[in-house]
Amino acid sequence: MKKVNSIYIVDDDPITVFGIRKMLKPAAICDDIQVFENGKSALEDLKNRLEYGIPVPEVIFLDINMPIMDGWDFLEEFVGLDIKDKVVINMITSSIDPSDYQKWAEFREKSLHCLNFKNKPLFKIEPSDLDTVNLAS
């Protein structure tokens, strides 16, 4: 079981949050799982961490459709932040709109971080969803 220092779940749907939490249990050991209802509050927390030198999360589960600040706007801001370590970002969506997939591909090109695109429903969290090394290969 992989040990992860901190995980963000950014999603406005409580059921999905419940599901991710449940699936994480057998997959990772983590004492710091934070949940945010939209991109804005997640971003604020992240900025806070950077300011106070608290380590940023190694893994983020990110919904696309959210109020106030959606997944794409969050990503836009996120890639501009000064974060040294590679972060695994799992985009979780029920969208089958090809334009969403294309947007993801564009972000993956310009970002240093590991971006995964995962269509709902999820049944299990794979080790690769938590590890940058596996994805790099």
Binding site: I15, T16, P67, P121
Partner: protein, 613 residues
């Protein structure tokens, strides 16, 4: 031979101005005037005693037997003879008269000679003229006739007989002649004309039909004019001409012309013929109707006289090209603009017109009015555009539907998977609770989607003319508690009588939504102020609602503000549906909506109602 002596009184004879000679019974010349001797080329002094036969034999056309008759038998008579003199001919007529003494004893013959050259020439000329006339009359089939009133005799010439197909021996009377005309118009007409000419001397010339002896119908031209003597009509003289072939040819060409005219006048195409200078030299009915002038007012005009300058220039260039290359221009789409600006679309063809030598003489133009087709095409294009927009909206909506439904169904499958594997009863209860929540969410979503579908499918909802102020008042009443609770101040500047064409339920929903939003997103620091306005703007009505609320960063969110399930403020009751529905309702009625906003200052929504469709 004692008779041969010069008688002194014969000297008188010698001087007679008229050529005269005396011949004795032995046909010997006994005396002659110098003028006579000159005719026979004789010396005036030495010829007495010459044989008269010898003298005459120097002339031509003298028949000795006839001469013998006059001289030997001393019968009176005349004789024509001719002298050739260096190429020219001289004609003479000798008159022989018996010569008696005072006791009526025959002495011989007196011969007098006249120079009749002039007369003979005239006769020949006359004969020539007569011959020419006869030939002419035969060739031109012109006969003549003459009617003598007193004797009631009618004379036909040979040609007139030939035209009637009667033998040359045939002599008609007036009744016979009239009976040859075809019963009916022709016969009535000729009787009338003939009698009128007789009565008051009116000349006539008329094309009529006769039925010949061989029972053939032929066209003739019968003409007559009176010949008067002392102011009284004594004769009618006229011509009679066979013009059957000519009339037939005329009728045939008239028929072809008629056919052609009928054809080009009734064909639903504009047809014109232009000369080398692009002047119109022939136009059909459709072209005249299009131009709006009579043919005589169009003939000779160019496009520059009739149409817009630029249009005329293009047309002239086409004409020149067609005439230069001798290649027709076929089915080209052209636009014609009249001087008054009236525009017509044509499918135009221009075909070079060649003369008999194959040289370009002008062109034939054919134009088909396709304005109505063009209009249809434009309508169709508009429809395609509308459909394309509609289609885009539908695809967008399909994505929304699939996304929203998928997110719920995905939750179902995920939760069910958990439930199957879960053994802990408390956890199972929790999962079941979640499932029930997911089911509720799905129902909500379906309701939302139903609303949107209803708006977009009921495109033909009946619009009514509604007073905006009435609807605003109703909404204000419905929201009164909500407005009071939030201390909302409303500044209503809508003109009292302004009406808008709208679906009643939609107008209410739009105003309700926008007003609710204006209050919902109020600034906590200010008392909410809503300004309502409306005015007529050309064919549209422009309605605006301005608040002093939180505002929204349009640079960031402008593209999504009317999107489904898009919310921008941290409010629990914001579902991201209101503006999406509002926009759909406005667009379903053919209108539009825009937004202006400044963060922490306020927002204005502008709604444009389409008053036309």
């Amino acid at each position: 031979m004692k008779a041969i002596e010069t008688v002194p009184q014969y000297y008188l004879l010698k001087q007679l101005p008229k050529a005269t000679a005396l011949v004795n019974t032995n046909q010997v010349l006994v005396g002659a005037s110098d003028s006579w001797l000159d005719i026979f080329d004789q010396n005036p002094h030495k010829n007495i005693g010459s044989d008269i036969f010898a003298l005459y034999s120097s002339h031509q056309d003298v028949v000795p037997k006839t001469l013998q008759k006059f001289l030997a038998k001393r019968e009176p008579g005349t004789l024509r003879h001719k002298r050739e003199n260096g190429g020219s001919e001289q004609w003479f007529e000798s008159t022989f008269t018996p010569w008696f003494d005072e006791k009526e004893n025959i002495l011989g013959t007196i011969i007098q000679v006249d120079d009749i050259t002039k007369q003979v020439e005239n006769e020949l000329e006359l004969e020539k003229i007569n011959n020419t006339l006869k030939t002419k009359s035969e060739v031109a089939k012109v006969g003549c006739w003459e009617y003598d009133i007193e004797s009631e005799e009618l004379n036909w010439c040979d040609e007139t007989r030939k035209i009637h197909q009667v033998p040359q021996s045939y002599t008609p009377n007036v009744a016979d002649a009239i009976a040859f005309y075809k019963k009916g118009y022709s016969r009535n007409k000729i009787s009338m004309l003939f009698h009128k000419a007789l009565k008051d001397g009116t000349p006539f010339s008329k094309r009529l039909i006769i039925v010949t002896k061989e029972n053939e119908e032929r066209w003739v031209r019968a003409a007559g004019k009176p010949i008067t003597e002392n102011g009284k009509v004594v004769k009618l003289f006229g011509t009679f001409q066979d013009i059957h072939e000519q009339v037939m040819a005329e009728m045939k060409s008239e028929e072809s012309r008629q056919l052609l005219t009928t054809l080009i006048d009734n064909i639903p195409l504009n047809i014109f013929v232009k000369d080398k200078e692009s002047r119109k030299i022939l136009v059909n009915k459709a072209e005249c109707e299009y131009v709006g002038l009579r043919p005589e007012d169009i003939i000779g005009k160019t496009d520059f006289d009739l149409y817009d300058k630029e249009v005329a220039r293009i047309s002239r260039d086409e004409d020149l090209e067609v005439m230069r290359t001798q290649k027709p221009m076929l089915g080209k789409e052209t636009i014609n603009i009249k001087k008054d600006g009236h525009t017509t679309h044509f499918l135009t063809s221009k075909i070079p017109l060649l003369d008999l030598e194959g040289k370009v003489n002008g062109l034939i133009g054919i134009g088909m009015d396709i304005t109505h087709l063009k209009k249809k095409e434009d309508q169709l294009r508009n429809l395609i555009n509308v459909t394309a927009v509609q289609n885009k909206k539908l695809i967008n909506f399909a994505h929304i539907v699939s996304h929203n439904l998928r997110s719920h169904t995905a939750n179902f499958s995920m939760l069910l998977e958990f439930l199957i594997k879960e053994e802990d009863e408390t956890e199972k209860e929790r999962i079941l609770g979640m499932l029930s929540q997911a089911s509720d969410n799905l129902l909500f979503t379906l309701e939302d989607l139903n609303q949107v579908v209803a708006i977009n499918t009921n495109v033909n909802l009946e619009k009514k003319s509604l007073k905006i102020s009435d609807v605003v008042n109703k909404v204000q009443q419905d929201l009164s508690i909500f407005l009071e609770k939030n201390h909302v101040q409303i500044n209503d500047e809508i003109p009292n009588n302004l009406t808008v064409s709208s679906v009643p339920a939609y107008l209410e929903s739009i105003i309700l939504n926008l007003m609710t939003n204006a209050v919902k997103y109020r600034s906590p620091e200010r008392r909410p102020l809503i300004t309502l306005n409306a005015k007529k703007q050309g064919k549209n009505v422009h309605f605006s609602i301005t608040d002093n609320g939180l505002g929204i960063d349009l640079d960031k969110h402008g593209g999504k503000i009317f999107g489904m399930y898009k919310t921008f403020h941290d409010r629990k009751d914001a579902r991201g549906l209101g503006l999406y529905i509002t926009k759909n309702q406005i667009e379903a009625m053919g209108g539009g909506v825009t937004v202006h906003s400044e963060v922490d200052k306020g927002t204005t929504f502008n709604v444009y109602f389409n008053e036309e469709s």
